[in-house]
Subunit: 205 residues, 2 copies
Amino acid sequence: MVPAIERLPKRQRHQQLSKLIEENPFMTDRELTRLLKVSIQTIRLDRLELGIPELRERLKLMAERSYDSVRSLPLHEVIGDIVDLQLDKSGISMFEIAHEHVFSRTGIARGHHVFAQANSLAVAVIDDEIALTATADIRFIRSVKLGEKCIAKAYVRSISGEKSKAKVEVFTYVGEEMVFQGNFVIYRSAGDYVSEGGIERADRY
Amino acid sequence: MVPAIERLPKRQRHQQLSKLIEENPFMTDRELTRLLKVSIQTIRLDRLELGIPELRERLKLMAERSYDSVRSLPLHEVIGDIVDLQLDKSGISMFEIAHEHVFSRTGIARGHHVFAQANSLAVAVIDDEIALTATADIRFIRSVKLGEKCIAKAYVRSISGEKSKAKVEVFTYVGEEMVFQGNFVIYRSAGDYVSEGGIERADRY
DNA sequence: TACTAGTTTAGTACCAGGTTATAATAGCAG
DNA sequence: CTGCTATTATAACCTGGTACTAAACTAGTA
């Protein structure tokens, strides 16, 4: 049944094929024949067996992926995932340090990403039409590394109702350990309702 | 020369065409004929005039863009373009505020992007293996808006050789106007290299 | 030895989504 | 009428495939 001896070449080729296409999805079958030294039909049978779509389908998939991620990129609106939010009181967000956030040499997160999480949260926690960071006084307590999950907790310390400023304190933890601390002064749009929980905002989606 | 009267339809159609393709780059010429009520040849002439490539080329371009941005993501290494750099002395970087950096509602830049530029520059200007932000004291002087070019200038104020800290002051301008100011304390490596475990990988091509 | 099966190669027809070139037609301006 | 633009039509050709049929080259086995 299973010849079992000269069966390897095919499997090997399949592996190579998968790897080549993963490394460079822009390759045509014809280019692959040159690299694998088999006929174009073999390449096509292999793709069939492996369920690898043709070049054009691959490119279309990639295009669709990137197109979707461009569309749904209010990713920049808030850095990190908001876990809990009590407007004008406190908030919690989570942010996992990925490759693109670290110095490639050391795996240590660039400070501005940690700051961005805290800043986003400090702004988000202020319940106002417009909230902008005025000043910040921050401390990076220890470096954060690739893969670590940063939990930022923001507390609104004071709202100077007339003066249209709010003080927000943010602490960021990895596990039990505090890694960042910042005091933010946030400008808020003056002249409107100071919320005590009774404000509905319809323009917020 | 320019008939000027029934000349509009074409221009209008060109506009519509561009818009349709921009909105949905996945449309074939045949689908476009149905929307614009002209022959497929007209669509193709239009694309030719407008320099819009065929569907497959569009998808390929999109795929390449997303592929590149995944591969070459030291895009995050420095925020903004370094224009001038004198290590341990000063540096200048430029950063243009784009759509993805602003609050969509107001067109005002999120603070952490402005901070990121300054922070990146403050770190870059320190001539050392490893440089990390320790603390920062920052002030957002006025809000920065979509399309504005931020010029950040960093000055190294002191290097405490033994103590492995440096003070860097950064000023960010839009035109003549200062929009941000920050005092950074940067940790620097006290002269050691961080070994990454010494793994050589031969399985790489 | 011949039979059988898995693997590889070859060849043909066909398809989508075009490009390129060439020609025919409509509509109006001078 | 001539000349010009815009539009449409027609046909040949291209790339990078799919789908299908058929042949040829392994081997192992009865």
